[in-house]
């Protein structure tokens, strides 16, 4: 079957309107939130599991690669598709099929937007805990592929802790159920292996997620610090006190400036860093812990400690945190961020390295990140039209990843490896470690037709055409 015959067969399955194959229509599908780009052969928009299965079976028979795409907010190139490959996207599979208040679960299609799910279930006194910064745009299917995190993963864990069961389609079109309706099932934990497999094991078509009851009280603190060192000390002090808050986020001076440029989040312009801390639980519990948190912040040199007075103020503090990456557009047209993780006690050391690298390469770096679990997001701000700057940013990122590995940390806390970091895998894993991982992929996708060329270093296979000259300023913000 040649390419055109394949597309004709797929059109017969999903309908003519739902196969995108014209070059100008494909422009928005050639990139995601990363720096790479590559135009797929076509994009298919299926309406249901059966269509996904039939499309996958056709592609499988034709020997064509398939890449799943959520909302395209991924930062590691997970949705970048090779030129001859098919992309399957899920804007038509965006229904919340069921909300179960007794079992505290929701059954959703992969195209459901993270925040839409959370907002929907809050009406029933529940919430969906994983809250990536892109939650206004990112989809549950994409969240599963990347095992997405977010600020509240500190207390509640990443996506994998909130997925009970899944319906997935394998590379040959077979429909399989992983996990179950119950929280535990007999057999290997295929569900656990699948979450975070970056689209290389299968395409998710239905997801049963766990919801949490809303807490009695939520209290949000803003700890204002003269510099980033003292803010890091405060993080250690809070955790060392035996307190794991619901969220513990760090925003540095440059990020504060960027945020305040676009919205008044209530962050003081002259602060060296702020910590956004959220406590949740019973009224008594929150009261008791609040006192200890405030004391820890003052003890470690806070210039001020503020508590959000009401929901509106709380929301404002969080809007600042979650719009930070967009706000970087007021400082430079392009950004590139590193998702490294270090043991929490190494944060100060790691951030000093960030400063040193920033100075040495002459690249501005802003820091807004999940301090509570040691997950940094040093964010390089630059103008990709300047000759050589992209190469410098990449070299600086490589040094930062090496430093994370050296400090006992890892390459990615929540964004995935994808194309972006695959050549750095040997920093944390041996060849034998990666061979063991590949065995799992062999079991799920023996022909390696799903999102190939990602995660593992290969140096030979298809590389996307990431070229700074192709960038339009501001496009990646």
């Amino acid at each position: 079957m040649n390419g055109n015959e394949l597309l004709a067969s797929i059109r017969a399955v999903v309908g003519d309107d739902y196969v995108i194959a014209h070059r100008e229509d494909l422009l928005v599908y050639e990139y995601d939130g990363s720096v790479d780009r590559s135009m797929p052969r076509a994009v298919v928009l299926p309406a249901d599991t059966d269509q996904v299965s039939r499309v996958m079976a056709l592609a499988y028979e034709a020997g064509v690669t398939v890449v799943g795409r959520g909302s395209g907010t991924g930062l590691s190139g997970g949705a970048i598709t090779p030129p001859e490959g098919l992309q399957i996207a899920f804007p038509r599979m965006d229904r919340i099929l069921d909300v179960d208040t007794v079992n505290r679960t929701a059954l959703v299609e992969p195209g459901v937007i993270n925040l839409d799910l959370d907002n929907h279930v809050r009406r029933f006194g529940m919430r969906y805990a994983p809250d990536p910064s892109s939650q206004r745009a990112c989809s549950l299917g994409g969240n599963i592929a990347e095992n997405a995190g977010g600020p509240h993963c500190l207390a509640y864990g990443a996506t994998t802790n909130h997925v009970i069961g899944m319906e997935v389609v394998l590379e040959d079109g077979e429909i399989v159920h992983l996990g179950s309706m119950a929280r535990e099932a007999a057999g290997y934990d295929l569900r656990g292996a699948f979450v975070g497999s970056e689209g290389t094991f299968g395409i998710t078509t239905k997801i049963l997620v766990r919801l949490l009851p809303l807490p009695e009280t939520v209290r949000t603190f803003l700890g204002i610090f003269p510099d980033i060192d003292s803010a890091c000390t405060a993080v250690s002090a809070v955790i060392g006190h035996g307190i794991v808050p619901a969220a513990l986020e760090m925003i540095d001076a440059l990020s504060i400036k960027a945020v305040q440029n676009v919205t008044d989040a209530g962050y003081p312009n002259d602060a060296g860093a702020v910590l956004l801390i959220e406590l949740e639980g019973l009224n008594e519990e929150v009261d008791e812990v609040s006192g200890e948190v405030e004391a820890a912040l003052w003890d470690t040199g806070a210039a001020d400690v503020r508590v959000a007075e009401d929901d509106a103020e709380r929301e404002r503090l969080w809007v600042g945190r979650k719009t930070a990456f967009g706000a970087f557009g007021t400082i430079a047209p392009n950004y590139y961020l590193v998702d490294g993780v270090v043991p929490r006690t190494r944060l100060t050391q790691m951030l000093r390295k960030v400063t040193e690298v920033s100075e040495r390469y002459g690249i501005t770096i802003a820091n807004v990140f999940h301090a509570g679990d040691g997950n940094l997001h040093p964010c390089m701000l630059f103008d990709a039209r300047e000759p050589g700057v992209m190469e410098s940013a990449m070299a600086a990122a490589a040094e930062l990843m090496e430093e994370c590995a050296l400090l006992g940390g890892t390459l990615s806390g929540e964004h995935g490896i994808g194309l972006e970091k695959k050549e750095f895998m040997p920093l944390v894993y041996t060849d034998a470690d990666m061979e063991a991982m590949q065995r799992v992929r062999e079991a799920f996708a023996p022909k390696n037709r799903l999102n190939p060329g990602k995660i593992f270093p290969d140096g030979s296979y298809w590389r996307p055409s990431a070229h700074p000259a192709a960038y339009t300023a501001g496009m990646y913000i």
């Binding site: 994998t160 006690t345 997950n375 990615s412 799992v440």
Partner: protein, 444 residues
């Protein structure tokens, strides 16, 4: 003097005579009817690797062994082999209280790990029956969890890194020692609950949580299981819902609370800081007083003992149940789980039910002897339970039953969707089928 059997001799040459157990002790390592032909007790991962590389060459089956508290779990082993005793590897490798992480060898006991962490006010909320004997590696391999699983999740939710020796003797690791990590595939979760059929776990890294400073157990007896279920579900819906909430019937209830009257016992386990604990206990007692026959609050040692007794029920060393079935189900199936208390298995008394209200599912326990019942009839009865559990949207795993019954039953129940992927996984990781052959789902 007996002559050394060749296999034991080969093992002695591999990693030293002192690591090979006396043949007289081999029956200690029995898995059902299977007594291993030799037992070897390495003291480090390199020795485990040497043993596995040897087994890979010779094709001899290897049965990894921890505290031997749950050897009943799984189908009958497929063929003779050696026991690989990991209790010689029991070091606490690295405890970083400020990072909230710990690295521990697989043979350390759950109690040993807990004691080390408690000194610093931390815990890794995994628990297994007979914690003084149960090992960290065994807890991970079986995926077994305790009475606070509803709030804290399963062992897989706390494991952030793992070192294993593969079936071919290769030493690999997955994950790391940071609490958040999406670097590469999540093999931690794959190894957890795989019953040692994919690789031998030699070292585990856990994330930690601050331990509650106080524990309390609220025991309430109810006139019937239905009233208990309503009261428990009501509590579960409150802000002050406990960390674990269970309903017990029959002899299981008697074991936990011999002096409490009533047909059903509800047990709420709460933990936290002092101020919130006052509220949790007071409000729970307030909620239950009007509907329960009696309410009793246990604290301190009494609370600890009750939590331990509840954890140990499925494998109690003094009076282990003759049959134990784990029901996996959604919380909404609570009444269906409780209805299993009417099950008649051949000529036995009806089982005790221990229902996990928050997590869903629970266990059915029989303590009766049934030497006179035909194994095939018991197996058929257990299959009926598996089918009934399936029909309410869950499944049933026969965790413990007489050896004779296992011959005609897959203790794991109906083969799950994804069984073909599981078979391919097993072939990928253990192509010669030497790791725990025959014991896992579908005969893997």
């Amino acid at each position: 003097m007996t002559t050394t059997p060749p296999i034991a001799q080969q093992l002695a040459e591999l990693i030293g005579r002192e690591a090979v157990d006396n043949p007289a002790n081999l029956s200690d390592y029995a898995i059902g009817p299977l007594v291993p032909v030799a037992a070897v007790k390495p003291t480090n991962a390199a020795e485990v690797a040497a043993v596995m590389a040897w087994a890979h060459r010779t094709g001899i089956a290897v049965y990894p062994s921890g505290g031997r508290t749950l050897t009943q779990l799984g189908n009958t082993p497929a063929r003779p082999g050696i026991a690989l005793d990991l209790t010689g590897m029991n070091r606490l490798v690295d405890f970083q209280p400020a990072d909230l992480t710990v690295i521990v060898e697989a043979g350390a006991t759950v109690a040993q790990l807990d004691a080390a962490l408690t000194q610093d006010g931390k815990h890794v909320p995994i628990s297994a029956p007979l914690a003084e004997r149960a090992t960290v590696g065994g807890t991970l391999a079986t995926g077994i969890s305790g009475p606070v699983r509803s709030a804290y999740g399963l062992p897989r939710d706390w494991l952030i890194g793992v070192s294993v020796v593969g079936a071919d003797g290769s030493q690999t690791k997955a994950g790391g020692k940071v609490v958040k990590n999406v670097t590469g595939y999540d093999l931690n979760r794959l190894y957890t609950g795989s019953l040692g059929t994919l690789a031998v776990i030699t070292e585990a890294t856990f994330k930690l949580a601050p331990a509650p400073t106080e524990w309390a157990v609220i025991l309430a007896s109810f006139g019937g299981a239905d009233t208990a279920a309503s009261a428990a579900q009501n509590l579960e819906a409150q802000y002050y819902a406990p960390l674990g909430l269970h309903i017990l019937t029959g002899p299981a209830a008697q074991r936990l609370a011999p002096s409490l009257a009533g047909d059903a016992l509800a047990i709420a386990i709460s933990g936290g800081r002092p101020t919130s604990m006052r509220r949790r206990v007071e409000d729970t007692v307030g909620l239950w007083t009007s509907v329960a026959e009696t309410v009793h609050v246990a604290r301190g040692d009494e609370a600890d003992d009750l939590i331990r007794a509840l954890t140990d029920l499925p494998a109690d060393s003094e009076a282990p149940p003759s049959i134990c079935v784990r029901i996996n189900a959604q919380p909404s199936a609570l009444r269906d789980v409780l209805d299993f208390r009417g099950t008649r298995l051949v000529n036995l008394e009806p089982p005790s039910v221990v229902a996990d209200v928050g997590f869903g599912g629970g266990r059915l326990l029989w303590w009766d002897e049934f030497a006179d019942a035909e194994p095939a009839r018991v197996a058929n009865g257990l299959k009926d339970i598996q089918a009934a559990a399936l029909s309410v949207g869950g499944g049933a795993i026969v965790e413990r039953c007489p050896d004779a019954v296992k011959g005609t039953l897959d203790v794991w129940g109906e083969q799950p969707s994804g069984m073909e992927i599981m078979r391919r996984l097993k072939r990928q990781f253990d192509p010669q089928n030497i790791l725990n052959p025959g014991r896992f789902v579908g005969g893997l």
